[in-house]
Amino acid sequence: MIELPILDAARGQSNTPVESTDPQAPKFWRSVGELEGDPSLAALASKEFLPGAMDAPDGTSRRQFIQLMGASMALAGLTGCRKPYEKILPYARKPEEVVEGIAMHYATAMPFRGSLSALLVESHEGRPTKVEGNPEHPISRGASGVFEQASILNLYDPDRSAHVLEGGADSDWGSFVAAVSAIPTTARVGVLIEENSSPTIAALRQRVAERFGNLKWVSYNSVGENTQEAGYASAFGRAVRPQFNFSQARVVVSLDADFLAATDVNFVRNTREFAEGRSVDDHTPLRHYVFEPTYSTTGGMADHRARVKPSEVALVAAALASRLGVGGAPPAAAPSGSAAGLVEAAAADLRSAGANGVVVAGDTQPAEVHAICAAINSMLGAVGNTVTLFDTAGVEMARRDSVADLVDDVKSGQTDVLVMIGVNPAYDLAGDSDLLTALEGLGTTIHVGQHVDETATLSSWHVPQTHYLESWGDGRAYDGTLSVVQPLIAPLYSDCKSAIEVLSALAMDGGTTGYDQVLRTWESVLPGNVAQGWRRVLHDGYLPDSGFSTLTNVGVTGPLRLPASSGAGASGLEVQIRLDTRLLDGSFANNAWLQETPELATKIVWDNVAVMNRATAEQIGVTNTLKAGKYYADEVRLSLDGRAVTLPAWIAPGIADDTIILSTGHGRSIVGTREKRRKIFFDLDEYTDIYGAGPIANGVGKNVAALRSASFSNQLSGVAAEAVPARYHIVTTQDHGALDLPSLQAEIESREPVRMATLSAYQNHEAHFEHAPLAGATEPWDEYPALWEDRHPSREEFFKDNPYYENQWGMTIDLNTCTGCNACSVACQAENNIQVVGKEEVGHGREMSWIRLDRYFVTEGRDIDEAMMVVQPLPCQHCENAPCESVCPVAATVHSPDGTNQMIYNRCIGTRYCANNCPYKVRRFNFYNWTKTLPTSVQMAQNPNVTVRFRGVMEKCSYCIQRVRKVNIQANLEDRSIRDGEVVTACQQACPANAITFGDISDPTSAIAAKKESDRRYELLEELSVKPRTSYLGRIQNPNPSLA
């Protein structure tokens, strides 16, 4: 220890000469005073300067002043080293019901394809951030699909139109109202309005009709019409809407039906019902026969599947009808190939299932096929059991004929004013060049839409339409249950008006607000006390028992015919145009989440392709090549009657021969209004800026509507296909570098990521889902010693003392009911602020999805085209012996006391070692700062409860830890344990099949504990002894024993 010399206090403080004790010493003095030891002189001498020369007269000295100033300057300067900060302004007057940081939930509903999806929307301080299904609603029951989940991003779409445009120039609402008011009442007015179920719009239709005597009001559906309802209507001779109760079904036959895809109007209920019907836990599962031209979501859930050309599906329907002895079944040629045998088996199965059988056809099939299905279902006695028929008399439906009629009027100049609300005919009918010319030449065309889109640019007026979360509205769910669409936020752009408000202006209703219009309608709808009932409806999100009445005693009256197109393409190429399962008809095209959601079967993102099987591709002479891990697809030019579209050809298994599948929704051209992002010259970040080049929908894929003529026909025959000497880079999220898949197929299948068994094997207890230990091993997998196990935190006392230790979270995913609809993936994206990286970066393998849907084909020795498609959602498995944790050099990924594997973003330095060591490869790295270029409006869509990750850190599924902690806090406040089912992860909440179960595995009474007891349970890669907390429940196939 260093000891400092102690200073002599006297010497240190006084300047008085030291008195020498030695009298002999010479003594020097400067003045007499000094010599005499005058104390006042000594005091003076202790200071260098005279009094006042050095010290400021008041308390603060010059030195102190400089010190303080210097320190404060330094402190002020230090803040300059930090990132720029922004002031957060608190509420000056806090709204009574708002508690900052606590989200509010409001019930509302999303209009979707002529129906309404009931929702519960989360709002943070007035900013809606997350959409869920309304758990009370009979259709939704809390689940939702990709479109509901992604619709929140449509609200914050930076390319939404913000201004009323007149002839392309900025105008305002006042001028628009004036212009509309000036339309003479004698004008021939056409209203083309998005198919909807709103009673208020129906009421407004009356008022508009009162004003214009010559009104043509046409409901519009971007695929023409709902062929199912049209077919059922023609079969039963009245307006009916079928709803399928798959939970009651023993045998389901799907004829090109995709009732499990989010594009289906009743998708959520269909999926839930189908999952119940397929469940093996409490009853014998249904058997599912699928006849379809391409792998759809529904086809992935098949027990037996046959590839059938689109035009031959009608033949299958007719063959089924005739085998079952349906009266009036049209005579038809037998379907070709493997379908013929399957028809026999399906017919026999249906006959024995009787009322528990059901036949469903798809939107893509013409009404005649649906009519045959209706007759079969009726003959089986399924009506009232597996099929519920709703009486939809008086419901305005889109009709192909009436749209065609109005289009003819427009072309022939029979219309003076055309009002197009929420529709985009210039895109859907892009092949009809006459219509486009006529639209442009029409006197007054009014377009109301969320984008300055293809139709808006041809219109004389454009009014920006509100998002459903910004405006009042109403409508009916699939079963007719009435709901109010309640806004959660004022329109982001003041010019935005809802359809109701525009129609109200058109009807010259004196500036009535949307709220008043809706309330006016509901005054007559609500029973009892209107004010009370209104509040009730707003709270619950729906009006109970307001659904359609069901029909039971209806007989098939209409004639059964084969559609004109059936079998026409028996030889020659057929093209089928399907609604895109992500972009729908293009109305979701500017939604980055959906653009980056992989298509289920092809896993392609940011593009649409012409899908065909290998044989067809060889005929046309196109190939897909793999170069350095990137796919290059030859382009194919499809032409029909002078119309043509050129797009990349994609070879996929399971497609019918001589069939090309196209999807809608791509090739949009939206006029962007956004200012270009300002950047400094050394910011080289174009490649991270997916929003940088204007609307993201532009330039993505091709509009396949250009191929068809004025009709909405989605089955085209006689199409000529020729290879174009051009190659196009296609980006997928799977199978990179595995075009040589056939050679690897055996290896992939032997790994058995998705484990399956037939029902008979399962019931006889011959099915083993857990892998047996290696031969010779004495202990089971989970008793294998693991590296660092003895030092595992879960063995430590402090870990067990933590209150979180009480709950041990786990998850199961039921592969028997998961359909691969992508809802979980998009829900996760919305909940966890997962960024979109764009086509280029997905091509580099840098997509960020936390839960991905792995799709595998199983051939089991069959031809690759007869392969079975299975899907496996893959979030972080939350291993108990997490291999990621032990390799992180900075302890940025650690185990929580409640048993989850956590990612500590602000500790992560990004070595990526954890991702390398993750056997499931579920970790995602922020290769760039993906959020740097987010437009301000998109930033508003971020969930404030989840950190937005910066560049250079790893991220992954957290089991929605923010939701867990929210419940932890609530339970702690109420001084109780967490109840089972109280924590719901985002993926689980969205899942319409209820395939995901989450909960506390340490609670033996919990739902998760029961699921973990299932004999179908297995852990993926259990042989690595990483002990995942996520388990899978194996898939049970129920094949027809007679076909085995």
Binding site: A628, L744, S886, C888, G910, N916, K921, R951
Partner: protein, 480 residues
């Protein structure tokens, strides 16, 4: 007074062996041969080489700046392949940095006197290679500004690094290796720096060299302390030679990735490191001995001995490659089997067969004595070996990651231009440092070479005058 050593030696054991230094050089000749290159005017050719090396170094710096500004995405990494060129380069450079310390420490302890001609430059090469290597773990992390969190620095969060992570062991292993190698190299330099100091004609040069030679006078006590220190450092460095690459191999071996999780890695990596390090020494010295006219000190026999080590370690590495295949099959683990099948026949088969031919097949030609004494042949082969060893690390890192357990996540890794330029640029740093070394530091350990001359043997009486060597100087002193 010229003595014919041939006849006079007759029975002396030191003369029965092939001399380590050719050309009948005296002590002074050796001093002269080595020292003059640090004393003469800088040749234009040196400036030319230095300019090229600097351009490459600049490329490295620009690539790093670009990386820092934009993020790790400028490299070709993707989701399954989280490590690419940076880690490959790191292991490559660390491997090269093995020869020097092996030559100076292990061969010293084994009394391999031929090491004296090459140990100085090999050690310098080691230091520069490790410097190159140390760049990569630093820049490859996503948040470079927080990379120092890997170091155990006390902080207010009481956060320590995670000591189970092999990356952390790397930090310690490589930094200790670098420190010890640097000290070892510097200690060996002291007598030679004193020689240069004594020959210096300019004051500043004398001052600087005087500072670095730490007052060396050549006194008996200095020599005694020096040799003790050198021996101790050699003993300290020896385990490090083996440990550093073993620890680097743990980065892979401790993981659970099929193709990485292999217990053979530590010895296999060490053998591979020595293999590549010796190849690099051969590449450099074949040029340096010619350019600097020290072919008598670094003789063809020295090179041949190194080539024998290359042959030996190359065969060991090849044996390891084949063992891996055997073990993969023998384990019965399908992921292991697939990982190795995929290496040899998958999309990166070209890299695998480049590695196999450069590392196992080509070095077998060194069984032929004529070839292992052929300068052009060994030059080409030494370069091929380093190409092969770079590909070995590429094969291990990339082919294992790109197709691991779940086929859904399989992908392909393609490096970007930045990846390639960063690697090329790292040679800029290496050559810049090496050229500075050649210019300012005696490239051969003068005192150690002198010590292995027959004349240095205390029992060499009767064969010289015991003062200046067996012969009078054959070189005239340079005049400055």
């Amino acid at each position: 007074m010229s003595t014919d050593t041939g006849t006079a030696s007759g029975t002396h054991p030191a003369l029965q062996e092939e001399p380590l230094v050719a050309g009948n050089l005296s002590f002074h000749d050796i001093t002269e041969l080595v020292s003059r290159h640090t004393e003469k005017r800088t040749p234009l050719a040196w400036f030319g080489a230095f300019a090229i090396a600097n351009i490459l170094l600049l490329t490295l710096l620009v690539c790093i700046a670009y990386l820092f500004w934009n993020g790790t995405g400028v490299w070709g990494l993707n989701n399954p392949v989280g490590w690419g060129y940076a880690i490959v380069n790191f292991v490559f450079w660390v491997g090269i940095g093995h020869a020097g310390t092996l030559i100076s420490a292990i061969l010293f302890l084994f009394r391999q006197q031929w090491r004296t001609a090459i140990n100085r430059s090999a050690e310098a090469m080691t230091l520069f290679a490790v410097m190159c290597a140390l760049i990569f773990p630093g820049i490859h992390v996503g948040r470079v500004w927080a990379a120092y969190w890997m170091l155990p620095i006390p902080n207010q969060m009481e956060m320590w690094p995670q000591f189970k992570s092999p990356l952390l062991w790397d930090v310690f292993a490589v930094s200790v290796y670098f420190t010890v190698s640097l000290v070892f190299w510097y200690v060996g330099l002291v007598p030679d720096l004193a020689t240069l100091r004594d020959r210096a004609t300019k004051k500043l040069r004398r001052r600087v060299l005087g500072f670095f030679s730490m007052g060396w006078t050549g006194a008996n006590r200095h020599w005694r302390n020096y040799e003790k220190a050198y021996l101790l450092l050699a003993a300290l460095a020896t385990p490090l030679v083996l440990s550093v690459h073993s620890v680097v191999s743990f980065d892979f071996a401790v993981s659970i990735v099929p193709g990485w999780h292999t217990t053979i890695f530590p010895p296999y990596f060490v053998a591979g490191a020595i293999f590549s390090g010796f190849a690099m020494v051969v590449t450099l010295l074949v040029i340096a001995r010619k350019v600097y006219g020290i072919e008598d000190i670094i003789t063809i026999s020295h090179l041949e001995k190194m080539n024998i080590i290359i042959l030996l370690t190359g065969t060991m590495v090849g044996f390891a490659y084949i063992t891996e295949f055997f073990i993969a099959w023998y384990s019965g683990v399908q992921y292991e089997v697939f990982a190795f099948k995929n290496r040899a026949f998958g999309p990166y088969a070209w890299a695998y067969w480049t590695m196999m031919s450069c590392n196992l097949i080509f070095p077998q030609l060194f069984w032929i004595k004529r070839l292992r004494r052929s300068i052009p042949f060994m030059f080409v082969l030494s370069i091929l070996v380093n190409i092969g060893m770079w590909f070995e690390r590429f094969v291990i890192t990339v082919t294992s990651l790109h197709r691991d357990y779940l086929p859904s996540s399989w992908d392909y890794y393609t490096p970007t231009a930045i990846d390639v330029l960063t690697f090329v640029g790292s040679f800029g740093l290496f050559f810049t440092m090496f050229l500075l070394f050649l210019r300012f530091v005696p490239m051969v350990a003068i005192s150690e070479v002198k010590a292995v001359l027959p004349e240095a043997d205390p029992h060499f009486y009767g064969h010289g005058d015991g003062q200046t060597g067996a012969h009078p100087p054959t070189l005239t002193p340079t005049v400055d």
